[in-house]
Symmetry: C2
Subunit: 174 residues, 2 copies
């Protein structure tokens, strides 16, 4: 199973807090190891740290990252960079190749991304060529990379656990 | 292939505009037929109508819907109601059964949902039992229902089309 980390770029602290929080929580819930944030936003770091504290695992968030530096280091250490964009190649044609990589950095942009990102990425990948959401694109590529196994992940050290239930809520304090 | 419509509940116009827009665009891009919105928000109706006008297809958004009435009518006409919730049954254990249904209403809540919703739904389904995002949950259940075929959907009547490309942007005006 590859090691996956998300790099969130284009985040505007005043406007994108909620969407970037969803990006981070989606990354965590669906098996990524952490999120680099190419902006300063302590609120997001703290919100996600609180979720990790309560729900377990060791997902990290690191803000104030230089996105170009992050991509360069990732590539220099032998990792693969996947940029999610509606202009990219279809996920279906490329996912088998991506799934074989050891370490994958998934770059998730906001509305506009710097033009040179397309050239810096090893793969530009479209989860449909339609406008929708970086959150849904990230969810689907993670599910395709991990082939559904991430849906039943256990997160070590959780203080609370949900017991799946056909109706109602069943939780256990640990 | 089942007919799928999304019902978005708990939407607060001042706070949830962006997330609900992502819900609607995700629904459209991933093969749902429309979205009922249990709130009044003309801005979202218009934003998504503009996307449909430009990018094609006949996805609808209807606001000011009574969520209880909507669920009742859907069930009375023989449809199946699936409520996305982290407390529900695991997607993996239930998806094969859901996929066989003809008409599926997927109920997507915001942070808190009315307690009786759990009983009104035919299925309460968890896309992981972890906190993340209604947008990612919706994306994954649609991808699992349609088994990936929705990723290559063509949307009739589009004014613009993207040609998938390994680097850069290739669009065609139609």
């Amino acid at each position: 199973m590859p090691e996956v980390v998300v790099l969130r770029i284009g985040h505007r602290p005043e406007r994108d807090q909620r969407v970037t929080t969803h990006v981070g929580l989606t990354a965590r819930a669906l098996g990524a190891r952490g999120m680099y944030l190419a902006a300063e936003d302590h609120g997001i770091v703290q919100t996600i740290a609180d979720v990790v504290d309560r729900w377990g695992g060791n997902f990290f968030v690191k803000d104030r990252v230089s996105w170009r530096g992050c991509i360069r280091e990732w590539k220099e250490s032998g990792g693969t960079v996947v940029h999610l964009t509606m202009y990219g190649e279809r996920l279906g044609t490329i996912e088998e190749e991506i799934r074989k990589k050891d370490r994958i950095l998934i770059v998730v942009g906001a509305e506009k991304v710097p033009g040179d990102l397309y050239g810096l990425a090893d793969y530009n990948v479209a989860v449909t060529s339609q406008p929708h959401s970086e959150i849904s694109s990230l969810a689907i590529i993670l599910d395709h990379i991990f082939e559904g196994t991430e849906l039943d992940l256990e997160h070590a050290g959780a203080k609370i656990r949900i017991h799946p239930s056909p109706a109602g809520k069943s939780t256990e304090a640990l």
